[in-house]
Amino acid sequence: MQECFCLDGKIALIAGYFDRVTEVIALALAEAGADIALAPANEVALQEVAGKIKIFKHRFLITPINIADHQGVRSYVKRTISELGGIDILVNSSRLQFAKPFLEISEEEWHKVIDANLNGAFRYSKVVGEQMLKQKRGRIINLISALSERGLSNCAALCTSLGGVHQLTQALAIEWARYGIRVNAIAPGWLSTEVSSIEKPMEEALLKYIPMGRCGQPEELGALAVLLASDSCDYITGQTFLVDGGISIRP
């Protein structure tokens, strides 16, 4: 049964705004057997990440790429395909966090959030999608959050950008279903890595509110990414998977 989750011989490209969730997903895919190409759009500790992934002894590349530069993204992806032989799995990491009262959001800030989280997914999905259509096989996994489907004060830019990716997931899933490409999204609820930046009183209220009584750990998302990247995902497409400790069913 474990063979059906195995990613031996598969090539994964993980692109976009990186955070601890992105790192966990990359490590999970590597551990399951995939070759890994990382294209962070933000500052990451390249050596540190490289050190963690190289343990799995598959092919590994890390190249910072400006997500707003569509020519740059295109030529990077083409180079990567030619160097690795193809791309089987694309992970769009739409993990730029931003929250502010709506009236205080500037034009620049709004565009930056939409560009990082939504347009990045558009750019990478286009170039990698072309390749996947040629291969007649592919898996696209969009890392968003539960804010893709519900509102939260101060989070209009995040909600809009992630909601866009939620829709992109459904639209691409339909358009490419007949060609062996599966497109899904992972939407975590509150994660411990985010809560550290919340004030104490809000954190306590949050823990009372979450049915499971705790925040999630990024490590609790890796296995789902492996499932959605694998052959087991043959019949799953167009879905956004909430991993949220029950918060969305809370009365």
Binding site: Q170, A177, P188, G213, D234, Y235, I236
Partner: protein, 266 residues
């Protein structure tokens, strides 16, 4: 990574485990290490499944159970606990009884309505209630319910089945909330068109494929991987959720396939 999907040392009760989806789930959970109790109304398929599980190298029991009878359900959980000393996973797969399909909504009788709800919804309630009490005491456990796209759209030919399946989605949330602080997670798998002996063969597959974005119906094994995910540590932060596995149908809401408008920018 693969340890997260392991069910080594776990005990799973799978209702409807003699055939179709239930059987595929039982076998695959056994493959990742679980000991299995299969329960259903007919003993012969259960005994066959039991034998196949033992071939895989796990322990198994076959307990004839009518899930619409709460005494038999309570007995099922007690026998499981008594034989294996514990219960970790309950898969509510009993149901999908062909006699409740293809009954015109307006022609359905009172009897068909009641019996349909009983077999498709009440069974899951009785089993979850009984297992829930045991799992609460252990402060750990997983319950996996089976729903369907029929419970989300207006498929009038599967009327009472559709209502029950919609009910299962809500029941999942209710049990999830009731058990969240007790270490027990409750989730649901909603499948799309799937070919099982109950439902159809090659010709059905060809005609079904016409309205499924990926072009074909699922096989019971397709759901099994998702069931293993929901039964294992891999899904440690998931509860109250209904995960859909449907070849893309809900993502496109049954839009006519091939419908691809072209509207260039003015």
């Amino acid at each position: 990574m693969f340890e997260k999907f392991s069910l080594e040392g776990k005990v799973a009760v799978v209702t409807g485990g003699g055939t179709g989806i239930g059987k595929a789930i039982a076998l695959n959970m056994a493959k990742v290490g679980a000991n299995i109790v299969v329960a259903a109304r007919r003993l012969t398929p259960l005994e066959e499944t039991k034998a196949e599980i033992e071939d895989i190298g796990r322990n198994a029991m076959a307990i004839q159970t009518d899930v619409t009878n709460s005494e038999q359900v309570n007995n099922l959980m007690e026998e499981t606990a008594s034989e294996f000393g514990r219960l970790d996973i309950l898969v509510n797969s009993a149901g999908a009884i062909k006699e409740f399909f293809n009954i015109s909504l307006l022609e359905m009788t009172d009897e068909q309505w009641r019996r349909g709800l009983d077999s498709e919804l009440t069974g899951t309630f009785y089993c979850s209630r009984a297992a829930g009490k045991l799992l609460m005491k252990q402060h750990s456990g997983k319950i996996i319910n089976m729903s369907s796209l029929s419970g989300m759209v207006g498929l009038t030919t599967t009327a009472v089945y559709g209502v029950a399946k919609a009910g299962i989605i809500e029941l999942t949330k209710l049990f999830a909330m009731a058990l969240a602080r007790h270490g027990v997670q409750v989730n649901c798998i909603a499948g799309g068109p799937i070919l099982t002996p109950t439902i159809g063969g090659q010709k059905e597959s060809m005609s079904m494929g016409r309205f499924i974005p990926v072009g074909y119906p699922d096989k019971p094994e397709g759901i099994a991987a998702l069931a293993v995910y929901l039964a294992s540590e891999a899904s440690s932060y998931v509860t109250g959720a209904t995960y859909i596995i449907d070849g893309g149908i809900m993502a496109g809401r049954y839009a006519p396939l091939g419908y691809a408008p072209y509207i260039p920018m003015k």
